[in-house]
Point group: C2
Chain length 342, copies 2
DNA sequence: CTGAAAGCGCTTACAG
DNA sequence: CTGAAAGCGCTTACAG
């Protein structure tokens, strides 16, 4: 059954030409090497006939290119990273690149080891939403000349392209919106993470509270927490803070746990507690009441990420300075943040 | 900056030993080749010192192994495939395999071309949730001796391992549950796809209806349909079938569109219409009312898929017959399928 | 116990 | 216009 795979060598022999001639023709460099049209046709014809496909590994070894991109995200099964990964893949495919991915689940060790693995694989470029403490390792990759795009959260002191959203501004906007609607005691439920996007969201919240002379009420949780523990932790928090009449969740999964907690406590939204969440999810659109969300422009983000990377790989921008691309999100106001009787 | 990458050759030269000796030692075959402990220590020590990592591509080219697995799913951003991909990756990582993935979005052409791409990459094995008409291409891969695990839907006539769930049985069970709860006119909303898992779910529904002498009411939609069109199509369908008092959705995304449709129509669940859906989603747990779901054992499925594949790759099961692993799902009854006033 | 050599399948100066 | 040859970095019979 298993037909023997033919090589460029076999073709050369069969056709009585040099290996290099075949190689040139296959790679569309026939003209550049002034190979006769007849030769070219003959080879192309035969290549098609036997369905020859070059051996990627060999090609990679010889050229030093792998035609693959390493994608390192937090969780490929997440409603933020999943769709982004899908779109990035679609675009990469058009340019002939494969995606090798890995989910870190926020674990720095895991991220470091997969970064090493991908380096060994000689990926042509990286797209990374890094966990904490990746600065050094990522900088090293960049120093080796491999293009890296950082997204979703920045990496302090690392010089490379970044794509993200206006976290601080949107958080502030969400908070202001609560106040405009007459909510007074606004809690912020977030991760105990010093990742930049989390810090920015926190900053936005704090800044709003401060300028309105209100005391911040904050719950910070571990990323690794089990879903059930998260729910319980939120319940405890709310019981210790009965004054809270609005909650701003810093991520979609925190909000999901939060909605479970509110349900358990029998709190009604938005009458007892208003809700806003950073990031979108099918759940938030369809929940009763629908949840006000800060929606990131996933498609634009993906496009910007992959375009920037491909340009770097192609070397078109080698001299261009690294850029910070901030694509603004959108506050989609739904029922959960509207005071009915204002 | 970019330090020159050292090769096995450099090591050999530096240490004054043969390349092969270094290779053997690095690959733990020192003993088998009766290399002296001192040599081994000396080499290992130096390897560690300079942080040498073998070049994967070169290794692959020489051995014919790539240490990577091709994962082809419908949509990596989906709440079924996303989590499965995450778990498969976690497990594969432990055994030193990378995952290269691609989403087909149900498009056979896309799937064929990525299959070819992965073959050229010399992946060591495939995990595929195939779209239609992949029989021939997949069989060809198998014939070349590359292990393939098919999951979620079968491929007619293709001889290989399969991992899936008891679609037919669960669909029947869901339908029976509706009837027990006093629902009479049960509609089935599905894809117009002849994929096996869809057919099995349809069969289960039909069989239940038949044995209770009820006429089936079916809506079949295209996978490629835009979300908004899907919603509208469901609205039209329900308006043409005012008798419907329960809907069984064949997939999670169909149900999401369905919930939007019901909301637009102002129908209340379960009083006007009961709802059950095949597959789980955060939305279904937290929706008001919570939606009864058929929950697949994602973790078990992932484990079975990757274990089976790794065994095949290791050649441990070459002689073992191909197997059909059917892991049963669970009908999680929630509010949406309970008749309040029965 | 160890080393020289061929080979994996390609690319690319270089020489004619 | 075309071909012989070296090289990418590894592995693995084979010979001593």
């Amino acid at each position: 059954m298993a037909e023997k795979k033919l090589s460029i060598n076999d073709i050369a022999k069969h056709l009585n030409v040099a290996k290099s001639t075949v190689s040139f023709i296959i790679n569309g460099k026939a003209e550049a090497h002034r190979i006769s049209k007849e030769q070219e046709q003959r080879v192309l014809q035969y290549v098609k006939e036997i369905g020859f496909k070059p051996h990627y590994m060999a090609q990679s070894l010889a050229t030093g290119k792998s035609n693959s991109i390493g994608l390192i995200v937090e969780n490929i099964g997440d409603s933020f990273f999943g769709p982004i990964a899908l779109m990035i893949e679609e675009q990469a495919k058009k340019s002939g690149y494969r995606i090798i991915y890995s989910s870190t689940l926020g674990d720095t060790q895991a991220a470091l080891s997969v970064l090493q693995l991908f380096r060994d694989t000689k990926v042509d470029g990286f797209i990374i939403a890094p966990p904490l403490h990746m600065e050094e390792a990522v900088q090293q990759v960049i120093n080796e000349g491999v293009p890296v795009i950082i997204f979703d959260r920045t990496l302090d002191g690392v010089e490379t392209d970044y794509v993200g959203t206006n976290n601080r501004e949107m958080a502030e906007k969400a908070c202001e919106h609560f106040l405009e609607q007459g909510f007074k005691e606004i809690a912020f439920v977030t991760l105990d993470s010093s990742q930049s996007q989390m810090q920015e969201r926190l900053d936005g919240y704090l800044s709003c509270m401060q300028s309105h002379h209100r005391a911040p009420i904050i719950l910070q949780m571990a990323y690794s927490e089990e879903r059930n523990n998260r729910k319980q932790e939120i319940i405890d928090f709310l019981q210790h803070h009965p004054e809270v009449d609005a909650i701003f969740f810093a991520t979609n999964y925190l909000c999901i746990s939060g909605l479970e907690a509110l349900r358990t406590l029998g709190k009604s939204i938005p009458d007892d507690v208003g809700v806003i969440v950073f990031d979108e999810h099918d759940l938030f659109r369809l929940f009763t009441p629908a949840i006000t969300s800060i929606v990131q422009p996933l498609e634009q983000l993906s496009t910007k990420i992959i375009d920037t990377l491909l340009s770097r790989i192609a070397g078109r921008q080698t001299k261009q300075a690294f850029q910070q691309h901030i694509l603004p999100s959108n506050l989609v106001v739904r029922e959960s943040s509207l005071r009915k009787n204002i």
